[in-house]
């Protein structure tokens, strides 16, 4: 991959990878590590991508895996939780902030599923492929996440 193409991909997908990482790790410090590792893997990848969707899905899958690997790292880490982030996201409307924090308060195993379904528009089968889980597991996680969001936000979630 040449530098120009690498920089184009960063420009196009950095935010998407960062969102997956932040939602997966729940703290900015680890999310940044995940993003870095994902792009290192991209830079080192020899094979080309079929199309943009293939590239996008690959980046998201690597970021999901990197989040998992990070949980297994033997290093002790000083966790900066989302509430302590100095550069926490700023939202233009209070209800958006409310949704963001409601999602971040979900259990780790639900957060990325919700992001991939509601933000990235992947269906259950596609999320199952990305996360290497069964479709049933994804459906269950979505159902539980919706119930939790419904309870916290006092709105309907489908």
């Amino acid at each position: 991959m040449d530098k120009k193409e690498y920089e184009r991909i960063i420009k196009s997908y950095l935010d998407a990878v960062y969102r997956v990482a932040l939602v997966g790790c729940k703290n900015n410090s680890d999310a940044e590590d995940v993003v870095q590792n994902t792009f290192i893997k991209l830079w080192e990848r020899k094979e080309s991508f079929k199309d943009e969707e293939h590239l996008r899905r690959w980046l998201i899958r690597v970021a999901v895996n990197e989040c998992r690997s990070l949980q297994r790292t033997p290093w002790k880490r000083k966790l900066l939780y989302i509430e302590d982030m100095t550069d926490e996201p700023k939202f233009s409307l209070p209800e958006r902030s409310e949704l963001f924090y409601a999602v971040m308060e979900l259990d780790a195993k639900y957060r990325q599923v919700v992001l991939l379904y509601y933000f990235e528009d992947y269906n259950v089968r596609e999320i199952a492929e990305i996360m290497k889980l069964s479709e049933t597991a994804i459906q269950t996680r979505l159902l539980r996440a919706r119930n939790k969001l419904k309870e916290v936000l006092k709105t309907e979630w489908e």
């Binding site: 792009f39 830079w43 996201p89 509601y118």
Partner: protein, 170 residues
């Protein structure tokens, strides 16, 4: 109602998470990352490592036990909570017997130096900055098992054991 509600929720979700962006510094760091390899290829900077010394700064009460046997060395380092690692040379360090740390340094086009820090195949990238004429990696979020905390749980001293033979990076 179900489909409509789902559509609305997706819209709401997208509007919300579209306001979440990667920090600008992260974008710069990642853009500079691909200089890691190109620099070492061009300059061969990472080649001749005899003994790459790792020195910790800052705290007057630091204790460093240092033993050298042939080509291997063992170092126990205690440092303050800001835990800065001074890099004097590129090389591979072995931490706690099996944790591999691969330190390389490169210079980005905006003058930002970056250090790559590989731990058991998991690579971390750090910004290297200059302090008192030394190149420093800030590793405050990663430290080994030797740490002490005060009654409030605030880290007061972090330590790690580094042992092994620094070898040239390929």
């Amino acid at each position: 109602m179900g489909m409509n509600c789902e559509k609305q929720n997706k819209q709401y979700f997208k509007e919300t998470f579209n306001e979440v962006h990667a920090p600008q510094l992260l974008a710069e760091r990642i853009t500079n990352m691909n200089n890691l390899k190109s620099k070492s290829k061009k300059t061969g900077f990472a080649v001749k490592i005899a003994v790459a010394a790792v020195v910790f700064l800052l705290v007057a009460s630091n204790v460093a036990a240092y033993a050298v046997t042939g080509n291997t060395w063992i170092e126990t380092i205690f440092t303050g909570p800001s835990a800065k690692l001074v890099v004097e040379d590129d090389g591979i360090y072995i931490l706690d017997g099996d944790t591999k740390i691969n330190v390389t340094e490169t210079l980005g086009k905006n003058g930002t130096a970056t250090g790559s820090y590989e731990v058991n195949g998991y690579t971390k990238i750090y910004t290297v900055f200059e302090e008192n004429g030394q190149h420093v990696l800030d590793i405050r979020y990663d430290y080994g098992d030797i740490d002490t905390k005060d009654a409030d749980g605030v880290l007061t001293q972090a330590g790690m054991v580094i042992a092994g033979t620094p070898t040239p990076t390929p």
